[in-house]
Structures are given as C-alpha cells and as structure tokens.
C-alpha cells in the first residue's frame, strides 16, 4: 500500500472521521502522558527547570521526519503528495510572535489546552475559550489584516530550498541539532533550581 492512503484512494473517504478520531486519541494520549496538560510543566522549558516540551516536540518531529524519509525511499509513500502549509513570510513570523506572547501568558498551546480540559484544568478551559474569541476577533477584523495576511506568498516552500541545501543534508543537520539540544537541556536542568508544581 503506497501512502498517503486517503489521497491515493486506498481508504475510502467515509473512514475519514473515524481515522481522525483514532489519531486524535493517540495524539491526546501522547500529549497528556508526557505532561502537556500542565501549563507549569510546559513553561519549564523557558525557565530551564523542565525541558519536557523541547524533548517531546523535537523527538516527535525528527521521528516523524525520519519515518517519512525512509518510507519515501522504500517507495511506500509519496513524499511529494504530502500537504505543505503555504509560507507567507510576514504572516508566519508575526503570527508566531503573537502566539509566543500568548504562550507566555497562557502557558498552553491549542492542542495541549484540549488535553488540559480533558483532565479538568479550569485554566485550560479558559484558555480554549480565549482561542475562540481570538479567532473570532481575527475574522471580524480580517479586512485590516488582509494585506499582511496575504503578503509574501511563497507557496509550499521547503526550508532547505530557501537555504540552498539538499533536503537530506538538512534532515541530518536537524537530527544532530535536536540531539545536541537534548544534551544541552540535560546540562541546563542540572544547574537550574527545581521548581515544584
């Protein structure tokens, strides 16, 4: 079976929602079991007392990336059929900065706040409520942001193309960088005073 299965028509679309639910269960379980339902555990990454976010996030990214590379190499999956989010230069950077600000105040991101809701965190519920308000505000004020939102469209650009690098080289460097960060994180964690939460 050559993936991606649904775009290739291997799995009928009627199974879409069932698959979504099952993958979501896996996603939610992995997040909650790693401790992403606690905002103070998440924020540990920025103060150096608990690097769980850094570890989980980069391990997940390089695991999935490695899987995709090997499956593509074996011919089990067509990498070029995967959806790539379009890159709008200014919009991506400004959106990222606003999200970072929200992260520092709220201590969650959307995915983790949903796992927080699942275990009864009231702050996560309030955060999610804020998400809805935020999306509503953006949509209502869209005419103001429209120019910025649509400027600098580079399509589904790949990072290695922008850097003028071969994709395999970039993938290798990303893995090395991730392992280096894990090592650094363990080093910093030893130095920083533990915070009870």
């Amino acid at each position: 079976m050559v993936g991606p299965l649904i775009p290739m028509g291997v799995i009928p679309e009627t199974w879409n929602n069932v698959i979504a639910l099952l993958l979501g269960v896996g996603f939610g379980f992995a997040l909650e079991a790693s401790g992403f339902s606690s905002s103070r555990k998440i924020m540990g990454t920025f103060f150096g007392y608990d690097f769980v976010v850094l570890r989980v996030f980069f391990t997940a990214a390089i695991t999935a990336m490695t899987g995709i590379f090997y499956f593509d190499y074996m011919g089990w999956m067509d990498m070029s059929m995967l959806y790539i989010n379009p890159y709008y230069v200014m919009s991506a950077i400004i959106g990222g900065i606003i999200m970072g600000f929200g992260f520092a105040l709220g201590g969650f991101c959307p995915g983790t706040s949903f796992t927080g809701i699942a275990i009864g965190k009231i702050d996560a519920m309030v955060f999610s409520g804020g998400l809805f308000i935020g999306v509503f505000i953006f949509s209502e004020l869209y005419p103001l942001f429209q120019g910025l939102y649509n400027s600098g469209n580079m399509g589904g650009a790949k990072i290695y193309d922008l850097l003028g690098m071969r994709e395999t080289v970039f993938a290798f460097l990303l893995i090395v960088a991730a392992v280096g960060m894990f090592y650094g994180a363990a080093f910093v964690e030893k130095k920083v005073k533990k915070v009870e939460y």
Partner: protein
C-alpha cells in the same frame, strides 16, 4: 549521562546518516527544462480547427475550449462553447481549479497561435496533462468554419466533403448559413454525417 540515552541518540543519528545517503529527489512538480524543450518541439499539441469544430458539434464531454484572450475580445467574438481565462489570470486560484481537471482535453486558443502557445507552455511547465493548442487560433477558425471557402469544381471529393462539413457546423453554431445557399445545405445533410464519421476516426487516432 544515562547509557540508554546514548543508545537512543546513536540510533537516531545513525538513521540520520542513512538519510544523508539517500539519493536526492527532485521534489518539484515542475517539468524539467529538457523535457519542456522536447515537448515544445513536438507538434502533436496542435489540433486543427476542423478537429475542434467536429468535437464541439458532437458535444464531446471531455473537451474544454479555453479562450486566453482578454475578456473584451472574448465578449466581442468567441467560439461557441468556449470559456474565457485571460492569459494574465492563468495562475489565479479559480483558473487553476478549472484547468486541474485531469479527464478533460484542454484546448487553448487566442487570435493567432502566440498567446495560446504561451499559455500552453506555462501549463505544461506546471505538469498539466492533456493540454493542446488550436492551430491558427480564432482567426483561422473564423476563416475556415464561418467563412468556409468553396473549393473549385475540379477539387477532389474530400475537399468538397470538408467544405460541406464546415458549412453544416457553421449552421449548427449560428443558426443560419452565412455563405452557403439554403437548399444546397439541406440536400447535403446526409453527406455531412458521413464526413463526421471520417473525421472522428482521424481525430480518434490523433488524440
């Protein structure tokens, strides 16, 4: 440092080294310059005005005739059944949606061959399949179909049949024959269908 972590780090770095040795793949969906050049050299993208007309008359469901001239020119005169995508909006999202129909034969035309051929190259470069150019454009279409020239009396029978087909097609599109006299066309209707079958066989081989 925990030994198990060293092992994990070793595994992922080894996998990374493996990735490093994978052959570089061209992930861009654009056609390679060499292939594009070969495709431009190949005249099979040109379809004749008679072929298109024949398929229009038969209401071929897999045929999409695209006028790449400006909207004002399209409104002034266009081939019946054609849709208008001006060449400068060829890359817009709505145009792409129309063009991204794999099961359709997409035929571009402009006044002559230049703009339609440029549109063809753009779409070819984007990797589209089943795209063609109507040779001679709307000018040739008008001259051959609408203002069909009657062959000389001594002309071979094929030329005469082609002429009658053109007249009939013109009548089909515009209701009244512009050039031919009414009784003659009426008398020739049976012959027209014979000609159509012939050209179907011809175009069937061509596509």
């Amino acid at each position: 440092m925990n030994k198990r972590y060293l092992l994990l780090a070793g595994i992922i770095i080894a996998l990374g080294v493996g990735i490093l040795f994978m052959p570089a793949k061209d992930t861009s969906k654009q056609t390679q310059p060499e292939l594009l050049l070969a495709a431009i050299d190949d005249p099979s993208r040109f379809l004749s005005t008679d072929d298109i007309t024949d398929r229009l008359v038969k209401k071929d469901p897999a045929l999409m005739v695209i006028d790449v001239r400006s909207e004002s020119q399209f409104k002034a005169f266009s081939i019946p059944g054609a849709i208008n995508i001006p060449a400068d909006s060829l890359l817009s999202a709505s145009a792409q949606e129309i063009l991204n129909q794999k099961e359709m034969d997409k035929v571009f035309y402009s006044n002559a061959d230049v703009t339609s051929d440029q549109a063809w190259i753009i779409c070819k470069r984007m990797g589209m399949q089943r795209i063609y150019v109507m040779q001679g454009g709307v000018n040739k279409w008008f001259n051959t179909i609408v203002k069909a020239e009657k062959p000389a009396e001594a002309a071979p029978i094929e030329a005469m049949e082609l002429y009658q087909f053109r007249i009939a097609a013109c009548q089909y599109f515009f209701g009244s024959p512009l050039m031919a006299s009414t009784p003659k066309v009426a008398a020739d209707k049976k012959k027209v269908s014979v000609v159509k079958k012939k050209s179907e066989a011809a175009s069937g081989g061509g596509c």
